[in-house]
């Protein structure tokens, strides 16, 4: 299954993904995709280096699928992490 590497940015906690140029991007669509778990190991290796460099925390591999050109995380947890809470919150809630 396709994989991407995700983490939270150390300074503000924002959900980030390892991008193709090895920098950390905020959108799942912009993440570097690995063909399977074995190949994703190289991504996780880079993530460990980023942890050591104090850029990110808690990296892990996220299974994704691509359907009709749209990429989405397989598990609901990872999908909510990618898209934000599934509910309107804050001032958006109390229109």
């Amino acid at each position: 299954m396709l994989q991407v590497v995700s983490a939270n940015r150390l300074v503000d906690g924002t959900v980030v993904y390892l991008g193709p140029q090895d920098h950390w991007v905020e959108r799942l669509e912009a993440a570097a995709v690995f063909a399977n778990e074995a190949e994703c190991e190289t991504g996780l290796e880079k993530a460990r280096a980023a942890v050591a460099a104090n850029l990110i925390v808690d990296p892990f591999a996220v299974a994704v699928v691509e359907e009709a050109g749209v990429r989405r995380a397989v598990s609901m947890r990872d999908a909510i992490r990618a898209l934000g809470p599934s509910i309107a919150y804050g001032t958006a809630e109390r229109r």
Binding site: L10, G13, T14, V51, D58, P85, I87, Y89
Partner: protein
């Protein structure tokens, strides 16, 4: 209310300075994540699904207007314009940057607030009846004792690394509004045959993956012995609680495994040993703390307020609000107003910065500067003159805070669930929103009915003690909701029973409606609420109705 003395102020300021330094060292790479994690948790900073989360203590759920305004300011300046009140009377901000947390804590310290012991294996924020000090049915205000426990337990060297977290609740009226029997220690203020006031002590209650009701181990504890007895309980737990298995580490497991009788004997022996005579509370010290919580000077008023009565007679919306959200105050001519944070279809416990400011203004003008946080995730204005109720209601209405649903099926307790929480197995909030919308029109007809929803087995939404409890689980990658029936968190505490196999997200609201319709069919008139009817008829009719549909 309690005001920091020099010691408190210096202690909190020192803690903020330490954390500022720790964050700077972490960002500069001088501390690893492993080294830093316990430090941030000790200051209430968690890492959730989307961002950091800061949990701020609201000791025994009491806030002054200036504190509420500070929370509004923090929501605006450092977060996304809102906050979330929790089932432990605390507030959480869901989006702060780590780099901002020291500044937030420093701003909080300026209004005598902090995030100490909102995480970690220590004695957590002590909770209390949200009507404390105002309730007509109260024996004595529990908050002075909560404050004494807070001062004693804050950074207590012996009790800062317990086997697991430790939660204490104190309630001061016969009606238990603080859910004391599902706490590690629950203290119930009582009067004995001689007319003295003291505490009945429950130990070993708790929810989570192993829900258990606390055992009464002391009928009457004199006030002077509050700390010595608490220390005895916590010491026995600290020595004997399991540290080998996180899931069996709470005191409830120790009490369950050894038996309440054995624990009682050990606690009494430790208490009799009296290793720290200095923590026996002198009456003078109790009185000193009690003075901070003295009832404000409420000018005498007639129990008949003409303006109030006239508005009630002509405005059904106001009459409904009074019926659901206002209860008797201990002083004639006043009422206790619950401000529901459960708008129909809204997020339980969420409040915007503008609403926080509005509540702060109302508290300042009409409630002697006091706001309370209820464990039901609502707010309370504890001392409102009946004459002022129309004005309070009007202002609440303008700001979307006048939902007249306290105790009704739409007053749902729900944890953040999978929309925010890293531990969740399913979402809670959308289920609460859909139930609230489904039942809005019928809620008064249905009457008292508490629904509690948790997004995982940790049970922060206290689903085991909901009349209807909903636990969100994950089955093969899909949300599945398990229903329990007959739970109750009051003085007749009960853990709900699982009704049967779970329901999908699409099915769960219909399932709740089936339960409600079954209740309406079996009840002996409107006066028999859901829980009473359930206790009379048992599980069978509900189960039948639920699963015959399948």
């Amino acid at each position: 209310m309690y005001r920091y003395d020099e010691f408190d102020a210096a202690f909190v300021a020192e803690r903020v300075a330490q954390f500022k330094d720790q964050v700077a060292r972490r960002l500069a790479g001088e501390l690893t994540d492993e080294q830093f994690r316990p430090l941030r948790l000790q200051n209430g900073v968690y890492l959730q699904l989307h961002a950091y989360m800061l949990r701020i203590a609201v000791p025994y759920g009491t806030l002054a207007s200036r504190q509420m305004r500070m929370l509004a300011h923090i929501a605006r300046r450092y977060d996304r314009g809102y906050g979330h009140f929790t089932t432990r009377q605390n507030i959480q901000f869901n989006w702060p940057a780590l780099a901002d947390c020291p500044a937030i804590l420093s701003e909080l310290a300026s209004v005598e607030m902090h995030a100490i012991q909102t995480s970690g294996n220590n004695i957590r924020n002590v909770t209390a009846d949200q009507f404390a000090g105002a309730a007509a049915d109260e024996i004595e205000d529990p908050r002075p004792y909560c404050e004494i426990l807070r001062q004693w337990s804050s950074l207590h060297p012996e009790f800062s690394f317990l086997p697991r977290k430790f939660k204490i609740a104190v309630t001061g009226a016969a009606r238990d509004r603080a859910a004391i029997q599902v706490h590690d220690i629950g203290y119930h203020i009582v009067r004995n045959a001689a007319g003295e006031i003291g505490f009945t002590c429950y130990v070993g209650g708790g929810l989570g993956r192993t829900p258990l009701i606390g055992h009464k181990i002391r009928d009457f504890l004199p006030k002077a012995d509050l700390l010595a007895y608490t220390a005895a309980v916590v010491r026995i737990y600290n020595l004997e609680g399991r540290r080998d298995n996180k899931f069996k580490a709470r005191i409830k497991i120790l009490v369950h495994d050894k038996g309440a009788g054995a624990i009682r004997a050990e606690v009494e022996e430790e208490f009799a040993r009296n290793p720290e005579p200095a923590i026996r509370l002198p009456q003078k010290e109790i009185d000193r703390i009690r003075a901070y919580f003295a009832l404000p000077a409420l000018p005498p008023r007639s129990s008949h307020s003409a303006g109030f009565a006239a508005r009630r007679a002509k405005d059904p919306a106001f009459a409904r609000f009074v019926e659901r959200n206002v209860v008797a105050h201990k002083v004639e001519g006043y009422g206790i107003v619950t401000v529901s944070l459960k708008p129909i279809g809204g997020i339980p416990g969420d409040i915007t910065a503008e609403q926080m400011d509005a509540v702060a203004d109302l508290a300042e003008r009409y409630s002697h500067d006091e706001v309370r946080v209820a464990h039901e995730q609502n707010l309370v204005l504890p001392h409102v003159a009946l004459d002022d109720l129309p004005a309070v209601f009007d202002r609440l209405s303008e700001t979307g805070l006048a939902t007249a649903n306290v105790g009704l099926v739409t007053d749902i307790i729900a944890c953040p669930g999978l929309d925010y929480c890293g531990l969740a197995t399913a979402r809670s909030i959308p289920v609460a929103q859909r139930i609230s919308e489904r039942f809005e029109a019928r809620s008064r007809e249905i009457g008292e009915l508490k629904i509690n929803i948790s997004g995982c087995i940790n049970a922060c939404g206290h689903h085991h003690v909901g009349h209807i409890g909903i636990l969100g689980l994950e089955k093969k990658g899909v949300e599945s909701y398990q229903i329990t029936l007959g739970g109750s968190a009051d003085e007749n505490c009960a853990i709900g029973e699982v009704v049967g196999p779970g329901f999908s997200s699409e099915e769960i609201v219909d399932a709740v409606e089936t339960l409600v319709d079954t209740y309406l069919k079996v009840r002996n008139g409107k006066d028999e609420d859901f829980l009473a009817a359930y206790r009379r008829v048992g599980m069978a009719p509900f189960k039948e109705a639920l699963y015959e549909r399948a």
